[in-house]
């Protein structure tokens, strides 16, 4: 049998990773374990893009290597290992494997992800990012089953061995592409309420048949 359970399971994982990599939709936050005097930190795998890094609620700004080079005289003291609260971070290595804080952190801050979406923001160093799907961050339920099913069928029918059916594989590839395009549109729609705000025309209520709005007496108005 060319389609063992383990093969199909691996294809399900690959499908979820493939879709969430192509269509960034998994938002994640995690805290870093900061050690006094250490500037380089290894990030968990699967990060697709950093949205924000905050140091006890204050932003740490990204710094490109080219910017660092162009501004060498200004940043030179930071390279020399001076310690304080960091103001910038650099991406180090391939992808998002490591980041380096500049200046070097002057205090230790323990990692704890318990309340990083709320009350603990002011106490931790937190990275907000787009991530690849994993067991705790999956694609939304309304699209997940179909996306994964079509991907697995596409790959399984293309596998070498008895049962290979390239026509079926091409057929399910088309279905997968359709689902993916629809899902991309749904992801883009999440921020539609912002776009609508930008394009809306102010309504002159006195000239339409909207219900009248109450007007406060003059003494309550901002003048």
């Amino acid at each position: 049998m060319i389609w063992t359970d383990s093969y199909l399971d691996s294809q399900f994982t690959a499908a979820e990773q493939s879709v969430s990599t192509d269509i960034t939709c998994i938002f994640n936050r995690f805290s870093l374990d900061i050690i006094l005097g250490t500037s380089v930190y290894t990030l968990p795998s699967g990060i697709l893009g950093i949205l924000a890094v905050s140091w006890k609620g204050e932003p740490i700004y990204p710094l490109e290597h080219t910017t660092l080079r162009d501004s060498a005289p200004y940043y030179l003291p930071l390279n020399a290992g001076s310690q304080s609260k960091p103001y910038h971070y650099l991406r180090v290595g391939y992808g998002y494997s490591k980041i380096e804080f500049r200046p070097v952190p002057s205090e230790s801050i323990a990692a704890d992800d318990t309340n990083i979406y709320g009350s603990d923001i002011a106490n931790r160093v937190i990275i907000s990012c787009w991530k690849v799907a994993d067991s705790s961050n999956q694609l939304p339920e309304f699209a997940r089953r179909r996306l994964l099913k079509y991907y697995v069928l596409w790959k399984a029918f293309a596998k070498e061995g008895k049962g290979q059916n390239l026509k079926a594989s091409d057929y399910f590839k088309l279905k997968f592409d359709y689902e993916k395009a629809m899902f991309k549109m749904a992801v883009d729609n999440v921020s539609k309420c912002i776009v609508r705000k930008l394009s809306s025309i102010p309504i002159d209520r006195s000239r339409t048949n909207f219900p009248p709005s109450p007007v406060l007496p003059a003494r309550y108005r901002n003048t």
Partner: protein, 212 residues
């Protein structure tokens, strides 16, 4: 038309009346898939719910707080009787570099993805609530449930399930025919959703022009 009635139509399409080649689970799984697809991508179901503010919470997981949450449309702060303004991370960072920890009555929100929405500023105490108007995903269908899809487009489920069942029989040409029909019906549903208030809005615009 209920879920079970739609399944009967599909059985007739497949000439499966009285036969048990497909299990009832095949049909119910497939029709749920089709319902998720039609509702999720056409965004035809809207609703609203009121939830309490949580002290010191910036990022709300609406997927757990609201029923069948898909994406936000608008948020109303019942403490201040004001609508919250939809905004982006960039705009929030411009307003206050420490925006995540600023306290106050929420006036803005940042829709992030299918789960999270961030509020700015965040309430320091758990007082009052907000009403969220939002698009919904499909709920779970049972035998006697009527899918929440406009009558004009409810065929989308029959077409999806028939196509899906033909896939299992490896009848790809026949399946493609139903799948294309499903795509057309879904496009029609999306248009219907976008235009369902249009005649009323056009009348309002005309009134406004007359006054000008």
């Amino acid at each position: 038309m209920t879920r079970d009635q739609i399944i009967e139509v599909v059985r007739t399409n497949l000439s499966q009346d009285g036969l048990d080649f497909f299990t009832s689970l095949d049909f119910t799984d497939s029709i749920q898939d089709g319902y998720n697809l039609a509702v999720g991508y056409s965004e035809c179901i809207e609703g609203y719910e009121t939830i309490n503010f949580v002290s010191e919470l910036t990022y709300y997981d609406f997927s757990t707080l609201l029923t069948n949450y898909l994406r936000p449309l608008a948020i109303f702060n019942n403490n201040t009787n004001r609508w919250l303004e939809a905004t982006s991370l960039k705009e929030l960072q411009k307003i206050d570099y420490k925006w995540e920890t600023v306290h106050g009555e929420p006036t803005m929100f940042w829709p992030i993805n299918f789960k999270y929405v961030a509020l700015f500023p965040r309430p320091s105490t758990a007082t009052g609530n907000m009403t969220i108007f939002y698009k919904k995903v499909a709920d779970t269908l049972t035998g006697g449930t009527t899918p929440e899809i406009p009558d004009e487009c409810v065929d989308v489920l029959e077409q999806y399930v028939t196509s899906d069942m033909l896939d299992q029989l490896e009848e790809y040409n026949k399946s493609t025919r139903y799948f294309k029909e499903m795509q057309e019906t879904l496009e029609g549903l999306k248009k219907l959703v976008n235009k369902r208030l249009l005649p009323d809005i056009i009348l309002r615009l005309r009134d406004q022009n007359d006054l000008d």
